[in-house]
Chain length 459, copies 2
């Protein structure tokens, strides 16, 4: 084992140069004119995988961008881990805000700047190098591994569920390792063990069959924009509490111990407020910001439209008004039950002077929370402690990772998050970057993880 660790330490600088060649490929998944670059990135991966000794390397087609697969399965009697990551990146625009080009990777002050540096090429690369360290120094891995690196994460993984369903046997594993998340702060390595779920709705309110003149009809006809505003206002009370009946019934109470643990994390509300440029923070009364973000459900307006929204004035009495509403769910809320309760409540709130339509959009996401005392999670904790020289904290994220419930449901394997990003590394924004210390400690942790997992008996 110490030879694998030494290998990573010896190649620290060379690895950064190798990562740069991966980052130079502008594999933007959302734009069709980057299709060739997507192909190039997939090719870069397979060639790299072959070179470091992985097997069955292949580029598997989907209805969209292909999925890269590879494995190494010679650790007889040992667990099999499935590593998930993605090789596609967000568009780099607005380009003028980048200090150096998004696809011209540059190191400044121990940080590597490039689109995809942290999200997610750097984290995929971390795994490749940890596997290489084992394979080059020992000729084998302590466990079996499979890699599933997709090319459509930044556009919502539209073909991933189907792929996993169809390739269930190929992907069969005892444990899943996802590396596409961030730690709470530099120097505070962490394990994400909770995600929020999601239901998403569109509400359409119709007052009249077509737009009317606000002079000729104003004052005597229902205004659907007003009706919608009144309806929306009734979805939350002044304390930020959601008023959908039964909404909180199944919300897991936060044990005092977890509450204390959250309070002990290095998180600054002041810094958050400054980072997002808000005059003030606001959320459900009785909870801290971190509790609101990680452990409490939300109901947010994602979009709002009615009438004339161009420049200047138009005296229209709108026929219709529309709102997009999403709810983030936490354990043990059931997306189906919440969707039903929301629809019924909104219909009940609607005045009789308008026609209301409630439409559920996009897939439901189930909230996810893993017990921190699971042997696989404990193995990851030990690996991180060895890799970073520091005991990891347990964190959650307020977001929803679509693939998690799918993997959970289809593979029935514990999911481990080994994420080495930082909250201020500008994923999805200009000047995306990756802390090179974290990359190095991440590689060490990944290398240790396979040894730790080899010792765990997974059922």
């Amino acid at each position: 084992m110490h030879r694998a660790i030494a290998y990573i330490q010896e190649h620290r600088d060379a690895f950064v140069e190798e990562l740069k060649s991966f980052l130079r490929i502008p594999s933007v998944s959302t734009k069709s004119d980057h299709k060739g670059d997507i192909q190039k990135a997939a090719q870069w991966l397979t060639e790299h995988m072959q070179r470091i000794g992985l097997e069955h390397t292949q580029i598997l087609p989907t209805a969209g961008h292909p999925i890269v697969y590879a494995d190494w399965l010679h650790a007889t009697g040992k667990p099999t881990a499935l590593i998930y990551g993605h090789y596609d990146v967000q568009p780099p625009e607005p380009l003028e805000l980048w200090v150096t080009g998004p696809f011209d990777p540059t190191v400044r002050n121990g940080e590597l700047f490039a689109r995809g540096a942290v999200d997610d090429k750097g984290q995929v690369f971390m795994h490749l190098k940890a596997l290489e360290a084992h394979l080059k120094t020992q000729g084998c891995l302590p466990v079996n591994v499979k890699l599933l690196i997709e090319g459509e994460e930044e556009i919502g993984s539209p073909n991933l569920d189907r792929f996993i369903m169809e390739q269930k046997d190929l992907l069969k594993a005892d444990v899943v390792v996802i590396s596409d998340t961030a730690m709470i702060a530099k120097g505070v390595p962490g394990i994400t063990h909770g995600l929020r779920g999601l239901v998403y709705f569109q509400i359409d309110v119709e007052g009249t069959k077509s737009d009317l003149h606000s002079g000729g009809f104003g004052g005597a006809v229902v205004n659907p924009a007003f009706a919608l505003a009144q309806l929306l206002t009734q979805l939350k009370d002044r304390n930020g509490r959601i008023t959908v009946p039964g909404f909180y019934d199944d919300v897991r109470r936060l044990p005092a111990e977890e509450r204390r643990a959250l309070a002990g994390l290095p998180f600054s509300e002041k810094k958050l407020q400054k980072d997002i440029g808000a005059p003030g923070l606001f959320g459900e009364k009785g909870f801290t910001t971190l509790e609101r973000l990680w452990t409490r459900p939300t109901l947010e307006i994602n979009g709002l439209y009615s009438g004339f929204i161009g420049e200047g004035a138009k005296t229209v009495l709108p026929a219709r008004a529309m709102a997009k509403i999403s709810m983030r769910l936490v354990p043990n809320q059931d997306p189906a039950k919440i969707a039903r309760a929301f629809t019924q409540y909104v219909k009940r709130l609607s005045p009789k002077t308008v026609r209301l339509k409630v439409t559920e959009l996009s897939g439901r996401g189930t909230p996810w929370l893993a017990p921190t005392n699971h042997p696989a999670v404990q193995a990851l904790a030990r690996a991180i402690q060895k890799g970073f020289g520091k005991k990891p904290v347990f964190t959650r994220t307020g977001g929803t990772i679509a693939v998690v419930p799918t993997l959970d449901r289809l593979l029935r394997a514990p999911i481990l998050f080994l994420g080495i990003g930082l909250p201020d590394e500008n994923a999805h924004a200009p000047n995306e970057k990756l802390d090179l210390d974290n990359l190095h400690h991440g590689m060490l942790s990944a290398a240790h993880l396979w040894n730790e997992l080899a010792e765990v008996i997974l059922l």
Copy 2:
């Protein structure tokens, strides 16, 4: 006089054919590719005006589309009337809903179908024919007349105020006649003697400096769309009463007599509801629909925007939300005072967790109400009674005619509305039409008006 009347009766059918040639010109003012047609329509007018014996006919340039002017000023010692109308039309789209082409004028069941038939070419044409009847049969007019026919009414008359200000001497008159309105129902000729005023605002609410991810930040950050909805909801109570402090202070109480007169008008709420396809009507408690439309002020949302409004779902926590709000005012509300009260109230309602901006848009419109017993108004009433064979009713409109306060202020002359449209003639909509009986009776009324006005001493 009877010779002018006979002339109109003899040429009844021929006039319709002439009007068709005016309606065939697609003088859509909002589209730059119709600039040539605008020119053509202005030319058609001046040639027609010259042919019927009007003088000083000219096409006067503005920063936008030109204004057509003509006069006849040989009635020494008699009053001078300024006739206002417009030769531009609304766009005809959606074309597929027209039974016959918008610029292929067609008569069906005594109605002439074409874009501009009622709004406003038909009503301008009515005046030309009444003047022609006098000039061709008597060689003179009973009064002096000036015609101001603009080409930008359908785009908000952006250059008219300035033109009137600059041409104050040219346009000087003792009375103004506007023909661009409708009567309340077929067989019920009327005189519009009241208009509502207008103030128009945009409210911008900013929560954060840029859009955030609703997973990563939802529940802990103020949602500007929610803040805006809450603010809007507080602008009116459940009874439809506007809650801006002082809003109703200067509203003129409706005398019992006027209330009775309104109740006696042939107006059906059921028909209105059916025409606009509304599940129900709604307005300020304690008032009839006609009272709400004509005599009560309003506060309406004209536009609403926040976040993602495209198809499908996007989990964005919007940085900003926007609403366009307009208020229709009634005598004796002062637009400046209402604008001030609204701005102060909205600022007071805004939570401290957002940045609020209140911007006044477009020109203010002063409410207008003319006494029905003015000698000029009584002259118009007699002319209509002779033209339609029926005593006119006094009506108002809920709309705002921008030129009215300007004319009122600059010319200080009484304004008469001789309008022959009907509420269901689809102005601004497909299958716009004009009732040919009304056109004929309108011409007779216009011809009578000049005789009646010649007898009135205006100060």
